[in-house]
């Protein structure tokens, strides 16, 4: 028996089987999401609190001049809606990676990782599943926001979809990359503080960047470099049927970089698995 003899009869998977695997992973994430109603409620309440309370309070304080993509003065609520949509996706991305840390502690993650499909494919499928869930949340938010006079053009609901998919993939991939470096659930809380809040506040989600520039040029550049800013701007422009090319490029680039990083980190011979149990084993 030679090695080459073995390799002449590989057992590969067909495209249909890859699809079954993807469907299975998305379906399971969907079921879990439906079973955890409080997660759905929490995902909606968070941005709505910002919209109903924070935005109402700041409406008189912050004036928003006419800046693209808006062609008229807009209410502050209207301005922050895209930022809140991105926030929903960021929380969803971080929470689904939180569930990966939990799954890994509990062992569920092993069932995914011992599947014979290539690991990069499994991680991508998991990412797509998480993004699909975030779309449900965002559209539910948009529906409620519509009654709060956030009324983008009807076509905007359609044109924003690809932007949401891209932003969801980027934020999900970031969460996945972060989750690979975390051994225990407890450490995740600090990552939330060190990643979510700085990314959210140092972005164009809550205030236009020209105002930030007036306050602090340095902070302005930090905001410009923040991928979350570009996720927000991509969504903002797409919601009004426009395309922000710079943001598109940044979001695509960051998605690819985060995903490659996550795949690398979940590779059994290189990433967290090799480091588990002690430092220095990462040979």
């Amino acid at each position: 028996m030679s090695a080459s003899a073995l390799h002449t009869t590989p057992r590969g998977f067909s495209l249909a089987q890859y699809t079954i695997c993807l469907k299975g992973i998305v379906w399971r994430e969907g079921l879990r999401f439906l079973h955890q109603r409080e997660r759905f409620v929490a995902a909606l309440v968070r941005p709505l609190v910002w919209l109903f309370i924070f935005a109402a309070g700041f409406r008189q304080v912050l004036g928003v001049s006419i800046i693209p993509p808006y062609d008229t003065y807009v209410l502050y609520e209207v301005y922050i809606a895209p930022g809140l949509m991105a926030m929903i996706q960021m929380f969803n991305g971080m929470l689904s990676s939180l569930s990966m840390v939990y799954d890994r502690e509990m062992g569920n993650m092993r069932i995914l990782l011992v599947s014979p499909f290539p690991r990069w494919y499994l991680l991508c499928a998991k990412l797509i599943a998480g993004t699909a869930i975030s779309l449900l949340q965002v559209y539910a938010f948009l529906l409620i926001a519509w009654f709060w006079e956030i009324e983008p053009p009807l076509i905007g609901y359609l044109t924003v979809l690809p932007a949401l998919v891209l932003a969801g993939l980027m934020l999900g991939a970031l969460g996945m990359l972060i989750s690979s470096g975390i051994k225990q659930m407890e450490n995740f809380a600090s990552v939330m503080n060190f990643v979510i809040f700085p990314m959210f506040f140092a972005s164009s989600a809550l205030y236009p960047l020209w105002r930030v520039r007036e306050a602090s040029p340095l902070l302005y550049y930090v905001c410009q470099l923040n991928p979350f800013t570009h996720a927000v701007e991509l969504i903002r422009f797409a919601l009004y049927g426009q395309l922000n090319w710079v943001s598109l490029a940044v979001v695509c680039g960051c998605t690819a970089a985060f995903m490659v990083g996550a795949i690398f980190a979940y590779d059994p011979s290189r990433g967290f698995a090799a480091r588990r149990g002690g430092a220095g084993a990462d040979a």
Binding site: M1, A3, A5, L6, H7, T8, T9, P10, R11, G12, F13, S14, A16, Q17, Y18, I20, C21, K23, G24, I25, W27, R28, L31, R32, H35, Q36, M106, G107, N108, R110, I111, L112, L113, V114, S115, P116, F117, P118, L122, D267, P268, S269, R270, A273, A274, R276, G277, G278, A279, G280, A281, A283
Partner: protein, 255 residues
């Protein structure tokens, strides 16, 4: 093309370290198809590390692992196709029903819904759990959860089953049930089983045994051969003697 039937699982020169701590040291063995092999060792012997390496949760640092001739580092997909695993921690999704847990696993092996349901019915019947198919996993007893996990591991018809201390935390009746079910698999379906345990009363006279202690392989063979080799009365005495001798040797090495 007919080739010589390879070993169900062959491990050669396998070593693994977590930082400075050596979990496996130059372990070599091969287990035959359609046999019930017990991987016997105390806690910390390296059993779970070995399983993590075979299932490729960890990458192989040194040595090689082949499942029916397929190297897990070279062609992990093909190797994992032939492998069914029951991990020591519970790995069922408690919010999903038993059937949903099984069909999710089937999807992870590229098996479509209709086929998956047929297979689920079959393996659940085999494990005596048909009537629980649509119950939430959360509502099952510990022993039933284990049986579902075994059913799930059988779903893609693996030729090699790994079970990592599957009876830990179960009562006597559930333990006996599980052992009986798994032995029946070997006898009737000619599945090869590697059963890791520290409970010596789970070893039967007809089994093969691999004794692992602090990452080293101390003995491998049929029960009577190991008993004879240790000059002991039974497998329990043989195991105790092997561990004791290993301890003496290690003490000698240190001195």
């Amino acid at each position: 093309m007919k080739t010589v039937d390879p070993a169900a699982l062959s491990v050669e020169g396998l070593s693994h370290a977590y930082g400075p701590r050596q979990a496996l040291k130059d372990v070599t063995f091969a287990i035959e198809p359609a046999r019930f092999t017990v991987l016997l060792g105390l806690n910390g012997a390296g059993k779970s590390t070995l399983f993590s390496l075979v299932t490729r949760l960890y990458g192989t640092q040194r040595g090689s692992i082949r499942i029916f001739g397929r190297d897990v580092s070279v062609s992990p997909g093909e190797a994992l196709c032939m492998l069914g695993i029951v991990f020591q921690p519970r790995t069922l999704d408690l919010d999903l029903s038993v059937r949903q847990n099984l069909t999710y696993h089937a999807a992870l092996h590229g098996i479509g819904a209709a086929d998956a349901n047929r297979r689920a019915d079959r393996v659940l019947a085999r494990m005596g759990l048909s009537e629980r198919a649509d119950d939430k996993a959360r509502s099952l007893s510990g022993g039933q959860m284990r049986r579902v996990e075994i059913a799930r591991a059988l779903l893609h018809e693996p030729r090699l089953m790994l079970l990592d201390e599957p009876t830990v935390g179960l009562d006597i009746k559930s333990r006996a049930d599980i052992i009986e079910h798994v032995r029946a698999l070997v006898a009737e379906e000619r599945v090869c089983v590697l059963w890791a345990t520290h409970l010596i009363d789970e070893v039967a006279e007809s089994d093969d045994v691999i004794v692992l202690h602090r990452g080293r392989l101390l003995a491998h063979g049929a029960v009577p051969a190991i008993v004879a080799q240790a000059g002991a009365a039974d497998i329990r005495a043989a195991f105790t003697a092997l561990i004791r001798d290993a301890g003496t040797e290690e003490a000698g090495e240190v001195a």
